[in-house]
């Protein structure tokens, strides 16, 4: 619980002349959930994009478990144990729920041409084992009856839940959640929040972007307030809630 897994140092990101991340630093330990709040345009999603390799920073470093992430392509970063969800849900619509979960698995048996052509028995055996595991995972979060439903036909809340389940299935150790409960009904919200609460128990490092401060307080150990690309304030949920800067620019 004490050693730092995620280290972000002095990150600077600009689009043309516009600076969207300014000398931003953050660190998080295993088993810790960090909340990220701030007005729209504060740079929160941009931060996620930099961490996951979709954007390159002008300055600064990001490392996870000692490995430098800046400069690596997104898929390599994902394979180092980083997983994220998106503000607007992204999943593969024609694939069924269970297929989406299987897609997220980092086991690449059956995805190589060699396996498909020459190791078919091994591939099919693996596949059925993984399918069982995926189904029981889906059952544990209440998505059992959607197992063979196409992802595009799920409700919005179910889709958000599914993308979280995909993060779990990937075995990622750094989980970045971008507004995981925005726009969904209370019952589903509860389900998602309880899953997020479980994650630190497995030693994972979680960063959550959210606007719903009640939700943030209930799942985060620490909250960071961002505005105009800068870290303006940091502390426990209670501290942030009573911080005058935060109240003035955001909560008030």
């Amino acid at each position: 619980m004490s050693f730092k897994r995620l280290e972000i140092r002095h990150l600077v990101k600009a689009f043309g002349g516009e600076i969207v991340l300014s000398d931003f630093s953050l660190s998080a330990c295993g088993g810790e959930t960090v909340g990220l709040i701030g007005p729209n345009g504060a740079g929160k999603t941009t931060l996620f994009n930099v961490i996951t390799g979709f954007l390159s920073p002008e300055k600064g470093t990001v490392s996870f478990d000692g490995t430098k992430l800046v400069g690596l392509p997104p898929f390599r970063i994902a394979n180092l144990g980083v997983c994220r969800t998106f503000q607007d849900v992204r999943l593969i619509r024609p694939l069924t729920t269970v297929e989406n979960v299987l897609l997220a698995s980092r086991d690449r048996t059956g995805e190589r041409l060699v396996d498909v052509l020459f190791r078919w028995k091994r591939t099919t055996r693996r596949e059925s084992k993984m399918r069982e595991a995926a189904i029981s995972l889906l059952e544990s979060v209440g998505l059992l009856d959607t197992v063979d439903v196409a992802g595009g036909e799920l409700s919005y809340g179910q889709q958000k839940l599914l993308s979280l389940v995909c993060c779990l299935a990937s075995g990622a150790e750094l989980i970045l959640l971008d507004e995981p409960i925005a726009g969904i009904a209370p019952e589903m919200r509860g389900e998602i929040l309880s899953i997020i609460r479980e994650l630190p128990n497995k030693g994972k490092c979680v960063v959550v972007i959210e606007h719903n401060f009640d939700a943030i307080s209930s799942i985060c150990d620490r909250v960071i307030f961002m505005d105009a690309g800068e870290k303006k304030s940091e502390g426990t949920p209670d501290e942030i809630q009573t911080d005058p800067i935060v109240i003035e620019t955001y909560l008030g």
Partner: protein, 295 residues
């Protein structure tokens, strides 16, 4: 009877072309207009290997397929960073350049006159001289193509390809090396298209550049879309229909001089009709393809 066998062989060849293009365009969402180029390269390579170097047929086919795979990989590597509609233009460019090579490198390809006298295929000393024998050979090739394609589609690899088609970003976040998968599918598709070319060359005995133009690429694309892109049997049905339909016209008394144009107007028209009213094709059942044809 001989006529039916001839149609059967053509259906078989276009089936292979359709299934291989469907892997690239239907499942993975890479709309390629260069498929005729691969087809042509296979045909010319087979012809040159047989005529100039007396390479035995099975070896020749293997070499042609390897060549097709290599070209597919080259195409994929060159277009790695090129997005959707520009990718189509890039494949168009490749198609035109390859066709130019066919027309201009007279010392190699015989130029516009093409190559003649390509021998019948011989497997282990046995010459396949009857059309029926060739139909069997093509049939075997079709089975192989459908088998490999079916395996790919039904495997985790197939899932990754669909993911790449629908949302590359999700695929990346799931840790998939999108480039490698694109190269793989272009290689497999290219290999089978070249193989079809080799079969074609040995079947008709002579080839020239007019069989491998952009129009041909569009024709194969029509087979994929009308049959049903991204489905298991779509290209098969598409090939059967688009090859036989114009032949039906002949029986209705259409003069031979018009046949070529009418055939093309027909498939061009069918393509537009299907894109507008049944984008999932004949065999498609549900909504597919963000980057392709949507319901």
């Amino acid at each position: 009877m001989e006529y039916l066998v001839h149609i059967g062989i053509l259906i078989g060849i276009y089936l292979i072309l359709g299934v291989s293009l469907d892997l690239i365009a239907g499942h993975t969402g890479m709309l390629s207009l260069a498929h005729a180029a691969f087809y042509g390269i296979g045909a010319y390579a087979a012809a040159i290997l047989a005529l100039r170097m007396n390479v035995p047929f099975p070896v020749s086919v293997a070499l042609c397929m390897t060549l097709g795979a290599l070209l597919g990989i080259v195409l994929g590597a060159l277009t790695a960073r090129i997005r959707d509609d520009y990718f189509v233009v890039a494949t168009l460019a490749l198609q035109v350049v390859v066709l130019r090579v066919f027309k201009n490198c007279i010392w190699l390809t015989g130029g516009s006159s093409g190559l003649i006298g390509i021998p019948e295929p011989a497997v282990g000393g046995y010459v396949v001289s009857s059309d029926f024998g060739l139909l069997l050979l093509v049939g075997l090739a079709c089975c192989l193509t459908v088998f490999v394609s079916g395996r790919i589609v039904g495997s985790p690899l197939g899932r990754v390809l669909i993911a790449i088609r629908e949302d590359e970003i999700v695929a990346c976040c799931a840790g998939k090396n999108v480039l490698v998968h694109k190269l793989t599918v272009l290689a497999v598709g290219g290999a089978f298209a070249a193989g079809a070319g080799a079969l074609y060359a040995h079947y008709v005995g002579f080839i020239d550049p007019t069989s491998f133009t952009l129009m041909e690429s569009i024709f194969v694309l029509s087979i994929v879309i009308i049959g049903g892109a991204g489905t298991r049997w779509g290209p098969v049905v598409g090939a059967a229909i688009l090859v036989t339909l114009p032949e039906v016209l002949r029986f209705v008394g259409l003069p031979g001089s018009m046949a070529g144009e009418v055939r093309q107007i027909l498939y061009g028209g069918l393509l537009v009709v299907f894109v507008m009213w049944r984008p999932q094709g004949l065999m498609g059942a549900r909504m597919i393809q963000r980057g392709g044809v949507q319901e």
